[in-house]
């Protein structure tokens, strides 16, 4: 009995040590509670990251290197930026749903200063933290509206607004706003796209949800480019996908400007493919059937 107890104690201690040492390198710089979550800022290996959970490693919303703030630390932001710049010809109006650290909006301000960028973020705390810790600036041409993404899209549709590029980036690895992942929502988004408008969506690359999400996007937009790393970024365009030559031509224009972002144009270009690697029979998600969180297990 005694040995068991001391063994257990030893195991606990060991766990504590491992846990403690992992935590030691990750420094919590800031935390604030909002209506929706705790918004946390961690620093580790010279990177500063925004997280919505204490298990920051698996759920980083956004990261910057404070000594080199242009550099995109996360793959998916590079993929989304590539989708925006390579698939659309000089966008005048861009809509981003989901701010995070605001790195895409910040990059667009620099790379394409004449582009008007409208960002929709539900959580005022995220906007505050992005401004304070992630160099995000919400002065024209970048503007933030604090509102639920679906409500914004509905209203914008009624007002007849049009965007050349729409970026969907409202998901978290832990919680998906299910009303932002349905066929009806995507149809509303599609209605906001100008002719030749481009949709860029940050989505999931694993779990059962991948199949359902793929068939849902396909049911609204037809074929799309599927860029995959840890995340999967969907890129599609109204009136037909841009050809590889078209993408390459625009990428060439940005290849020098993108270097500081850590974005290597040739390898990004290689990621644009239309291969169907999901179960095409997976049920399409709708406002009536949207168990996205249950499918993401």
């Amino acid at each position: 009995m005694k040995t068991i107890r001391s063994l257990a104690l030893l195991a606990l201690l060991a766990l504590g040590l491992v846990h403690g040492s992992a935590q030691a390198q990750m420094k919590l710089t800031h935390s604030e509670r909002s209506l929706y979550r705790e918004v946390l800022v961690y620093e580790e290996d010279g990177l500063r990251c925004m997280c919505f959970t204490r298990q920051c490693r698996i759920g980083r919303q956004s990261c910057i290197d404070p000594r080199n703030p242009d550099h995109f630390a996360l793959n998916y932001t590079r993929m989304m930026l590539a989708g925006t710049l390579f698939a659309s010809a000089d966008p005048r109006r861009v809509l981003i749903i989901g701010l995070g650290g605001g790195s895409i909006a910040t990059a667009l301000r620099k790379l394409s200063p004449s582009t008007e960028v409208e960002v929709v973020e539900i959580d005022p705390a995220v906007t505050r933290v992005a401004k304070r810790f992630f160099d995000f600036v919400d002065t024209p041409p970048v503007r933030v509206t604090e509102i639920d993404g679906r409500v914004f899209v509905k209203r914008a549709g009624r007002e007849g607004k049009q965007y050349d590029v729409i970026l969907l980036d409202a998901f978290d690895h832990e919680y998906i706003p299910e009303h932002l992942l349905t066929r009806e929502f995507l149809l509303e988004v599609k209605a906001l796209l100008a002719p030749q408008g481009v949709l860029v969506a940050n989505t999931f690359s694993s779990s059962r949800l991948y199949d359902h999400e793929s068939t849902t996007y396909a049911s609204v937009f037809g074929t799309f480019y599927n860029l995959k790393r840890e995340n999967r970024v969907i890129v599609t365009r109204l009136g037909g996908l841009p050809t590889q030559q078209e993408l390459a031509a625009r990428a060439a224009k940005y290849s020098a400007a993108l270097l500081p972002y850590g974005a290597d144009t040739p390898s990004l270009l290689k990621m644009f493919n239309t291969q169907v690697d999901w179960d095409v029979k997976a049920r399409v998600l709708t406002d009536q059937y949207s168990p996205a969180n249950l499918l993401n297990r």
Binding site: L35, Y36, I122, I147, D148, G149, R150, V151, K154, R155, R158, P177, E178, H179, E184, F185, T286, D287, Q288, Y289, S290, P291, L294, L295
Partner: protein, 204 residues
């Protein structure tokens, strides 16, 4: 000590089953309420706040009304009618959740009051009738003042246990298997069947 004639055992059981189901029904609808409001009002904390407020208010007024109504010739048949009323008044939720909510969202752009009005429009009436069920059941089950507290306690237990079951089954499983409208229709159908059993039971 005041005593009243006790219901036969089978009807007492039916009373508990109705209270349990009514609890299930209310929470099933409440959870789906979030789904129905989300396309027009989003799923911000305000929307959930509005839904929960409307359900609590409707239940509280339903309790008052149910207690009051139990003063006049209480019967299993009337209890069954309450269940049926809740089921029937939940049916308009299906058509109301479409175009009317869209218009309401335009009329009241404030996310708090817009969703409050929407939740009231869709859910107040059926939840009110559901609230009437429990106190009415208490009236049917209580036979003397000595055991009244125990009966009431048992009734609160089954009804709230039903609510817990309705919450977990709806949010963990039903939405994964079925469409929202199918779940709503099934909930109403089960209520109608139980009400039918109650109405027939009286005749025998």
């Amino acid at each position: 000590m005041n005593t009243v004639e006790q219901l036969p055992r089978s009807l007492r059981t039916l009373c508990y089953v109705i209270a349990l189901w009514s609890g299930f029904f209310v929470m099933g609808i409440e959870l789906l309420g979030g789904r129905l409001l989300a396309p027009n009002f989003g799923s911000s904390i305000y929307v959930w706040g509005a839904i929960i407020s409307v359900f609590m208010l409707a239940l509280s007024l339903g309790y008052l009304a149910g207690g009051r109504w139990s003063l006049h010739q209480p019967s299993m048949a009337r209890l069954s009618l309450l269940l049926l009323a809740a089921a029937l008044t939940s049916l308009p939720v299906l058509p109301l959740a479409g175009e009317p909510l869209e218009l309401l969202a335009q009329a009241i752009p404030d996310p708090r009051f817009g969703s409050l009005a929407a939740a009231a429009l869709l859910f107040f009436v059926p939840t009110f009738f559901s609230g009437m069920v429990s106190p009415y059941c208490v009236r049917l089950l209580v036979v003397d003042d000595q055991t009244s507290g125990r009966r009431a306690g048992q009734l609160f237990f089954v009804s709230t246990f039903g609510s817990a079951t309705g919450t977990i089954l709806t949010s963990f499983y039903l939405v994964l298997w079925f469409e929202v409208n199918s779940i709503l229709l099934s909930l109403a159908a089960i209520s109608a069947v139980l009400a039918g059993v109650g109405l027939l039971a009286r005749r025998r």
